[in-house]
Subunit: 336 residues, 2 copies
């Protein structure tokens, strides 16, 4: 039976990216740096105000699966597109990377999800998501056999925003757990954490094996701005917590270890979209290949650095090639 390194479940989204002046954020009343869900009317208004864009496949968990595949890992994706042009683009792009994506597209209903991403001169991204058909991922769309074949199931926090998709993700989690495999989860966005705070604290306590989150998300979850208190609040609750702090690097935390991982150098930060997604990709590739946690962290930082060096949330280079020097130096170290 085929086994996957990672199967991701999340919103299948095409990103529409434009670069705008700093004032744009305020003029349009956007929540800087956050992800906001928008309806059709707001999507039309916002898109009309945006400059010329470029469209690339996105979606948080989908970006992570693209990254795992680019490292040479085996990956699958569960999410919902409509059978429209952007749905075709999404399906093409993720499959072109070797990620298995076989959820049927919808012949009717709202269109494929779009995320309107405004990148400002400080390289920050502000995201407005029109969920469309992505919010119609139903439990019957879940291939439980696929979920059970994943060494690690990767769950996107964003998907908690719709009741039916939450039901779908819970079904996938059960299938993976039943097969004795691991659950990883990303906190996605600080506002998203606030919306689902109590449920997610429950998940951290018993369901999640590998947790990903950045400083603001962790603060929202733990209710404290103090970094050490944040770290202490999750340490030991999950098998591994990967806690990121942008340019200040990240901390990989187990019950009895805290491993600091510096951020990898970037010549020029152009667009931070996808940084967390690709960090998770690097970590999960390493984790599912039995690498030590420090090396997992190094791959994570490397992938995050690649994706923030250009517009768009998926790697533009082959991550296996990018990671080769790291992996070679590790394998030549004396084994203890």
């Amino acid at each position: 039976m085929k086994q996957y390194d990672v199967v991701g479940i999340g919103n299948a989204i095409v990103d529409v990216i434009s670069t705008e002046h700093e004032d744009f954020i305020e003029e349009l009343g956007l929540a800087r740096g956050a992800m906001t869900l928008i309806d059709t009317e707001r999507a039309v208004e916002l898109y009309a105000a945006m400059g010329p864009g470029s469209e690339t496949s996105g979606g948080s968990a989908a970006n992570t699966m693209a990254g795992v595949a680019s490292f040479g890992g085996t990956a699958g994706f569960i999410g919902k597109v409509r059978n429209d042009q952007l749905g075709e683009v999404f399906r093409h792009d993720i499959r072109a990377l070797g990620v298995d994506f076989d959820v049927d597209g919808a012949d009717e209903g709202p269109s494929t999800a779009r995320c309107l991403i405004v990148v400002t001169p400080d390289a920050a991204r502000t995201m407005s998501t029109y969920l469309g058909i992505a919010g119609h991922l139903h439990p019957e769309d879940i291939d439980t056999e696929l979920a059970s074949m994943a060494k690690v199931l990767y769950c996107e926090g964003y998907i908690w925003d719709v009741d039916i998709t939450k039901e779908a993700i819970r079904k996938a989690i059960e299938a993976t757990k039943a097969a004795g495999n691991k659950i990883s989860f990303t906190l996605s966005d600080a506002f998203c954490v606030q919306r689902h705070h109590d449920e997610w604290l429950d998940l951290v306590d018993g369901t999640i094996d590998i947790l990903f989150g950045n400083q603001t998300e962790l603060a929202a979850l733990t209710g404290t701005d103090d970094w050490d208190a944040c770290v202490a609040a999750v340490q030991g609750k999950v098998e591994v917590a990967c806690l990121t702090r942008s340019a200040e690097g990240s901390l990989i935390v187990t019950a009895d270890e805290r491993i600091f991982v510096p951020a990898a150098p970037v010549e020029k930060v152009v667009d931070t979209t996808g940084a967390g997604d690709l960090y998770a990709a690097g970590f999960l590739y390493g984790y599912t290949h039995g690498l030590d946690l420090a090396t997992c962290g190094e791959l994570a930082s490397l992938a995050a650095a690649e994706v923030i060096g250009h517009l768009g949330a998926r790697p533009l280079v082959n991550l296996a090639e990018l990671a080769a020097p790291v992996l070679e130096s590790r394998s030549s170290e004396p084994q203890v």
Copy 2:
């Protein structure tokens, strides 16, 4: 009555760009560096073989109008999209730059045109165009009032490939001519020149005022590989011929002058898609603002250099800002 600096007529296309290894061109049987028209079946086959792509608005004349608007000129566009997602993207992007584009989208028929662009490590682009609804631009889609308000009508050679669109463009040309305004024309592609050789020689002889072409296109038109013979063959036939030679710069030719314009420096050539289109934009902006031909050429080179420095066929920066130092230095020169 409003007057436009330039109105362009051409295929309304969304580009799908992927970067591929050198071997891809041969494996897929593509004509390196050229533009080939493809049918649905071939489009499906080729797209399936391509890696993950990014979608940006394109189309030769549309790129030129985007460039004119980015320089601060007034521009309109005539072309056909379908009312589908890619049609919406095309319309949004060109309008976001301030280009007037009011041709009704089609509610039925084939989809919005797509150009599958493969960029190889040498930065060359090989284009396969699925024309779709763009090939259904009918004479009744031509707003003759708009065409007559253009100081210069800019015509894309590519549009000659379909009889009905050729009829449409001839109608636009007549309207512009009748208003006493100028006709500019780009030879587009050497194979395209071969397909319409005799008709285009006729156009050069009496219809076209401003001609754009590169070395291979000019060789196909004039039937000689000898550069000086090429130049001599068109000199004096049109008011101005802008003859480009990639990194070797260009020659601006009138009945009694040959002005050499060096190529503007580029740090790294990434993707040559749009080089000719943006060259034409710079020239036409200068020409419609009464600048001397050498300055027109300088703006042309500047715009071409910008667009080949990144993926995609439209400028990523404001060309008016980019051109400001050139225009300031010219205006401060002593007037004769």
